[in-house]
Amino acid sequence: MSCKFCKTKPVITLTNSNINLCKSCFIKYFERKALKTIRQYELLKKGDHVVVAVSGGKDSLSVLNLLNKLKDKMKLTITALLIDEGIKNYRDKSIEDAKKFCKEKKIKLEIASYKKNFGKTLDDMKKKNKNTIACSMCGVFRRSLLNKKSRELKADKLATGHNLDDEAQSILMNQLRHNIALSSRLGPITGVKKDPRFIPRIKPFYFLTEKEVATYAYLHNLVNDFNECTYCEESYRFEIRDILNGMEQRHPGTKHALVASFIEILPLLKNKFKDVEIKSCKNCGEPSSSEICNVCQVIEKIL
């Protein structure tokens, strides 16, 4: 029971390969794997302005930490962007973690709230719409606000802390809901068509598991605890996550296999959906595949 490479005390057993790694070998493994993804899928170019979507949680602070380490070598400009949905006892705690981290590392932090941009906090929206699943409103607002603010900040890329577990869940959710058009927008760098109104979203942790990201965050002392959103249990994703976690325990490597299989067919999906026209929303002018964008549709329904 020792690290495979240096024979010291291990901190993790990699589920996919059963290899034990110590703290320093694990950090090397983790950062090399993220860098490999960045190079292989051309997620970054020298001189890019990267806006990093941060929530103050383990995934986003880890990706911010990694990109901040790469900053000088790749001549990157880094800005952190935090979306404050207004979720009491959840977001208010993680905002403090994000502020503390950005202050320590001298990273510029921008905060955009639902209250200021949509007139209400998520808690208020949920109070008024008890039967609507919070994640279905929140996801639409968050994606839109991240894109809009990144564009205003003149970002070249919008980086997120999405990991292999998140991607495996999205792939399976879209399959089970026959929502393949949505899957065509997944992958380490998102988007099907280039449009200056959409900032390409990049996922450097695409091939790293949630446990690996949590281990990296713990070893860097990035977060105090791993909080779960209070609305999480309502979501379909939550069910899919449990199914996949059970499968991973019984059949190690399941999530890697699912994502690897998806990556092989992703070029075909992107090709199939490449002709989807991107219009401007008649209400707000934001880019949209339909006459009225998702945000305006949700606002019409719930506010």
Binding site: M1, G57, T209, E210, N245, G246
Partner: protein, 64 residues
């Protein structure tokens, strides 16, 4: 018996177990989605436990 602290549930359990793997099996914990911490250090499933050990189990799932 080692003391097992389940952080999310806010529960402390004492169980007979000689390794972390046995703890996971007895408490029906999925090892792929938790971190285990002893004396502020991460430990792995095959780590041998002593009767006076105190182990914190933290679920890695966050966000929503």
């Amino acid at each position: 018996m080692p003391k097992i602290i389940l952080e999310k549930e806010g529960v402390i359990k004492q169980i007979v177990a000689s390794t972390l793997k046995e703890v996971y099996q007895k408490l029906k914990i999925n090892p792929t989605i938790v971190l285990a911490i002893k004396n502020n250090e991460l430990i792995i499933e095959s780590t041998k436990l002593k009767p006076k050990d105190e182990i914190k189990i933290i679920p890695v799932i966050s966000g929503g």
